[in-house]
Subunit: 120 residues, 2 copies
């Protein structure tokens, strides 16, 4: 019986787009197009997900149980029937933590190799 930590690590390394989507949904439930804009904004325009990448990633993430679709919608006058809203699951958060740990270890290795970047 594998604990959640082990189960999460089985999905690593995570496709970059997947981590970005999880980061976006960590803040609040969002629909696809809003994720696209949010990722652009949070990364200062450095990361722009392609539409194909987004919708395919979301599909995969639903199957893997990293996110779920929520039927809960904003007030009708603010809503848009075309939208599909998604929420991160506890498992999705565990996977994101595992990936963050993996990346942190990678950065540690790189810095130990002498690749110490000047402050951003």
């Amino acid at each position: 019986m594998s604990d959640e930590r082990t189960e999460a690590e089985a999905l690593l390394p995570l496709p970059p787009a997947t981590l970005h989507i999880l980061m976006s949904l960590a803040e609040e439930d969002r629909h696809g197009y809003a994720i696209l804009q949010d990722v652009d904004a949070r990364t200062g325009g450095a990361v722009k997900l392609g539409a194909g990448t987004l919708y395919r990633s979301v599909q995969r993430m639903l199957e893997e149980g990293l996110i779920v679709e929520v039927q809960q919608r904003p007030a009708p006058e603010l809503d848009d029937e075309r939208r599909r809203y998604y929420r991160i699951t506890p498992f999705g958060a565990a996977v994101a933590r595992a990936e963050t740990r993996r990346l942190q270890n990678l950065v540690r290795l790189a810095r130990a190799s002498g690749f110490v970047p000047r402050r951003a």
Copy 2:
């Protein structure tokens, strides 16, 4: 006239295998097979480059000027004629620093999203 920093950032994001190879060569000149073993060792077995990945990556990295082949060989009695030795270039090191900076920023974002991993 783009400075080396700008030129380096044009290659980002770096394929994961490429950064591992640069980390390995940062320590000392190595031949392909030795890089394979070193990456395995430095990552505690967590990363195992496939042979195809390694030799194709090396080819690309030579073309991009991240590494050069060195003709300089160990003492004949320690050598193996089949080996081809590689060395990281100053540009390769600049690219590795840029990629390290990019990864560090990504980790910062992930942690800011609440994905704070428990100590490894």
